[in-house]
């Protein structure tokens, strides 16, 4: 993060879009005026062609900020870090999906709106080829922002492809589903990258780190892996914003998006709730309505 990295982090970006120019200008103003302590954004990575998160405190460095199709990461995950929280007011560059994560943090009092300057980027999808999540994006224009860069565009929205994999799984028998997940979970090495990268996994002490009693077996044997992956997904029920960072971070390619989407769909079908679209609606598992009697409870 020091200035000496400057030379290695590809300052030689040829042309920039007018959105990025505007972003840099706002970032400079925010840092120069002291309105924020830090700007969290995307910059060129050490590896050619890769982007990485950058944390700017010096207004002279704002030209390192970039935004393009490679900016897949969800930077909102840094807002849960105690170091960042301790900084007071920070500015953060977000795409729509990242902004949804911020909405969840605001709803759950895990972030303070007055401590954030949200630099929203209008996003037509990231990744090359485009990430799967982008094909049914609900928020091409971020749902929450202070400064918006780019012209507002309508969201792609859910389509028949969005839950195709969930439906494929639904069509299987329980035995086949069990085998499907067994095959995938057996590869899990309990590295907890899925948890670390998730912007919504905000517990300072995760249940899997608690050992009196030990709820989640910590060994990466099939039972421990099953329990961990089940618990992780359930703790995100009604909260997951489908940014898909867990699946991207998973070193053994477990298709975590399928289970996340299954719960997104269940919560939406049952309670008409979609996480992160605003920061006011009550979390679906922390509220209830009358007349929701379920057939399976006799």
């Amino acid at each position: 993060m020091s200035a000496s990295n400057e030379s290695t982090t590809g300052t030689a970006t040829a042309e920039t879009t007018k959105e990025v120019d505007a972003l840099r200008k706002v970032a400079r103003e925010l840092l120069e005026s002291g309105a924020v302590k830090m700007v969290i954004g995307y910059g060129e990575g050490y590896t050619q062609g890769k982007v990485m998160p950058i944390f700017l405190t010096d207004p002279e460095e704002v030209n390192r900020l970039i935004f393009d199709k490679r900016c897949v990461n969800n930077l909102a995950t840094y807002l849960k870090k105690p170091e960042i929280r301790a900084m007071g007011k920070v500015a953060i560059v977000v795409k729509g999906c990242d902004a949804r994560a911020i909405n969840v943090l605001l709803l759950e009092n895990q972030a303070r709106r007055e401590n954030l300057v949200i630099l929203g980027m209008v996003c037509e999808g990231v990744g090359d080829p485009a990430e799967e999540k982008c094909l049914s994006c609900l928020v091409n224009t971020p749902p929450v922002y202070d400064h918006l860069f780019g012209e507002k565009i309508p969201a792609r929205g859910w389509n028949e492809e969005t839950f195709a994999k969930v439906e494929e799984l639904d069509a299987m028998s329980p035995e086949e589903r069990w085998e499907f997940w067994r095959r995938h979970f057996d590869r899990c090495i309990k590295c907890y990258a899925c948890r670390q990268v998730c912007p919504i996994c905000t517990c300072t002490r995760c249940i899997t780190d608690k050992n009196q009693p030990q709820w989640v077996p910590t060994s990466p044997h099939p039972m421990g892996n099953y329990h961990w992956n089940l618990t992780r997904a359930f703790h995100l029920a009604g909260r997951c914003v489908s940014c898909n960072e867990c699946e991207r971070a998973c070193p053994v390619d477990i298709p975590l998006s399928i289970i996340n989407l299954a719960l997104v769909k269940a919560v939406h079908d049952q309670y008409g709730f979609i996480a992160g679209m605003n920061s006011e609606d009550s979390p679906p598992l922390a509220t209830y309505k009358e007349g929701e009697e379920q057939e399976f409870i006799k």
Binding site: P217, S219, E292
Partner: protein, 153 residues
């Protein structure tokens, strides 16, 4: 071969179903004794972890029962529980758990008969299904790996 006695865990709410079970007992109604009752203050107290843990302890079936909607001793506990179970049950289904091994009921303190009937129905159902071998397979053989619960078996 000896008759199969399934291992069934029953999470019963203190105020309704547990009292219903008491009533079934004091009324001398007969029902199979193949389940272990775990008394909880409210169905809202049941963390989904309990269910997973029960399967990990070798359960063949799990029964969750509490007060009827509107009867909760804490007014709203079972409303929350109902939402949680709806989503959790969906997740278990998605992850390949056999839902026939889960049972959810609302049984009041006055429904001793319903308790005995539901107990019979569930135990018979699990007897027919047999041991939950698919889950038992993933339980590690070493007891210290399987049972690091702090609470024993």
């Amino acid at each position: 071969m000896a008759e199969f006695h399934p291992k069934i865990y029953a999470f019963l709410c203190n105020w309704c179903t547990y009292a219903g079970a008491d009533l079934a007992g004091t009324s001398r109604m007969l029902y199979p004794a193949d389940f272990r009752v775990i008394k909880v203050p409210c169905t809202g107290r049941i963390d989904p972890e309990f269910i997973v843990k029960a399967f990990e302890q070798g359960a063949d079936g799990i029964w969750v029962s509490g007060c009827h909607i509107g009867d909760c001793h804490y007014n709203t506990g079972n409303y929350y529980a109902q939402r949680r179970w709806t989503i959790f049950r969906h997740e278990l289904d998605c992850l390949g758990i056999d839902l026939r091994r889960l049972k959810f009921t609302w049984i009041s303190a006055a429904e001793g008969r319903k308790f005995a009937d539901e107990a019979k129905e569930f135990v018979n159902r699990i007897r027919d299904l047999g041991p939950y071998e698919r889950f038992h397979e993933i339980i590690p053989a070493e007891p210290e790996l399987a049972l690091k619960t702090g609470g024993g078996n």
